[in-house]
Symmetry: C2
Subunit: 343 residues, 2 copies
Amino acid sequence: MTNIQEVARVAGVSTATVSRFLSGQTVRSGEAIQNAVRTLGYSPSVVARSLKSGRHGAIGVIVPDITNPFFAALVKGINHEVRASGYQVILGNSDEDAPQEEALLAALTQRTDGIIIAPLVEGDLSLVRLEKSRTPVVLVDRDITFATRFDRVLVDNLSGSRQAVEHLAALGHRAIAHIGGPLGSTPGRARHEGFVAAMERLGLPVRQDLIRISDFREEGGRDSMRDLWNQPDRPTAVFIANNLMTIGALNALHVLGARIPHDISVVGFDDVALAELLDPPLTVIRRPDIEQGAASARLLLSRLEQDFEPDASLSQSHRITLPVQLVVRGSTSAPAHREREQE
Amino acid sequence: MTNIQEVARVAGVSTATVSRFLSGQTVRSGEAIQNAVRTLGYSPSVVARSLKSGRHGAIGVIVPDITNPFFAALVKGINHEVRASGYQVILGNSDEDAPQEEALLAALTQRTDGIIIAPLVEGDLSLVRLEKSRTPVVLVDRDITFATRFDRVLVDNLSGSRQAVEHLAALGHRAIAHIGGPLGSTPGRARHEGFVAAMERLGLPVRQDLIRISDFREEGGRDSMRDLWNQPDRPTAVFIANNLMTIGALNALHVLGARIPHDISVVGFDDVALAELLDPPLTVIRRPDIEQGAASARLLLSRLEQDFEPDASLSQSHRITLPVQLVVRGSTSAPAHREREQE
DNA sequence: TCGATTACTGTAATCGATTACAGACAGAGG
DNA sequence: CCTCTGTCTGTAATCGATTACAGTAATCGA
């Protein structure tokens, strides 16, 4: 790799002059430097530059599982927003493993100017440590109360659960089940709370035997669904708190030979690819996934610009909540007549 | 951020001693240094380290579209393999944009020790430039003949096409259509060639009116399928060269009201999520996507280790071809009796 | 007791770019 | 002709870690 000394030598000037020319100042021997740069194929070392300046020209993104279409879409939104700004996006995949997430966090705080993360565990020590540093951080889908320094980009989980329950209730369902995510995580907790609140508001029974708290994974959804189905007093509808568990539940129902929506209506949180081509097409709560990424990126970028004028660093942390939307397809209908016996 | 000087000062030794202690050498005041490191919360700057050493402890991965499940799986496989080695994975998404890919390549060659890439354009100038550098490179899905320095990890496209055609032919199809990818790309070219070769070997007519060369995207698949369907002399089966085009084609057939497999049998290349829950379940050529990522990572890592012993750098570039496998589900069957009229 | 060996330590150069500082030089104004 | 101003330039310090080199002290054997 050619370095700035080489360029200076060839152009017959000092390295300071080359550096100044490259940063846009007018110098006498600009043309000679230009030529030297071209013939040598010189481009400045980003490593040396960031050692001197402390800035990396990159932002870090940490997700638990890049094969989850939601996170892929999130990353796409981030990328799209960051592209014009000249920053690099460095993506880390923690594989849902807390130690690995911590390692990623440590590595990326050293290589980037700011981080977008959907942390696995909300009370994590590494987050506490992170808050003490002055790295700008945007949390996705996590409404952590103690971390007031962090910006947060959420979706309206409560509204999503309410829309799902109201839709099912309007169709005549009373025995509505819920497969939820971990209550230690914001989406798990909020969607569960939203479900319970909506049921109560509509005067429907909140039956603990129809609520399964699972893990946001496909296997968890499968097992919970099988479990619910094998109950003596089966639900006529189920609201499932994320995409992967919905897929698992659909698989379970398929294997069990259940007819959707005749035997059971299904509403999932998060749209899934091919939802329209499924048998039947899946009714879901859809969230603006790409937009959620874009909003996170905008927040982070604005904070990075802000960092240049340090007096503004007192500014409050932002908290954005994006709306979600019920998309009715074929997996929900009025309950079959079996429901009448129960009334 | 505390630096090594600070640690040296607190421990009462020189920076050289601290550095030596941290790299595992035995020093007299190890305990004092240990304490200083702990109380100061010191961790060495990776930026300074890579400026000095020229190594970054990171590998770069560039994909055209992270929301394509194949690339997401590829990245997962890479991550999984790299995890133990202590390297970071830095992922770049070119969004199928050549200038952005080139910018990513330039940025990542500066920040990483080696690159795994599935380039957009095979004859790209930036690839030629890359070959002249001595950055280790692994190409995924691209069998570029001029770039002999690069390792390559491919799948057996020819075999995949053959398996698809033989399956359809065995069911009795003769009017088999093909929706292909760009012939300038290895997968597009090889799958098309494999299709033609298999048809000829079985004595089936290769009808140009049933071949559409498209772009590997969902819209391309949709348009091509609609086009094929609206022909006077429709095919009874179609083999589609990748996942996204298959999804597009399924959408088109859904909108057109075609019944699968009664009206038309469908085989896709690349498995798709939920394939089993589709109506009907989709028959596909499945490739080992995660394994393809893992193999790429192994190749790159071994080359990075090799770099320590420079005499071995003469070693040949590797070329790995992974097998693919036909997965028969419900979207293929014998052609309906309309076929008889044509015979 | 002396020289040789071993085991450790500190000084200072180095990686490549940026930038504070001071010096050089031209042109303007008195 | 002298001084002052403005514009450009080079020298050298700096970012934080690594490491060649030289030096010191302790230990061992003769």
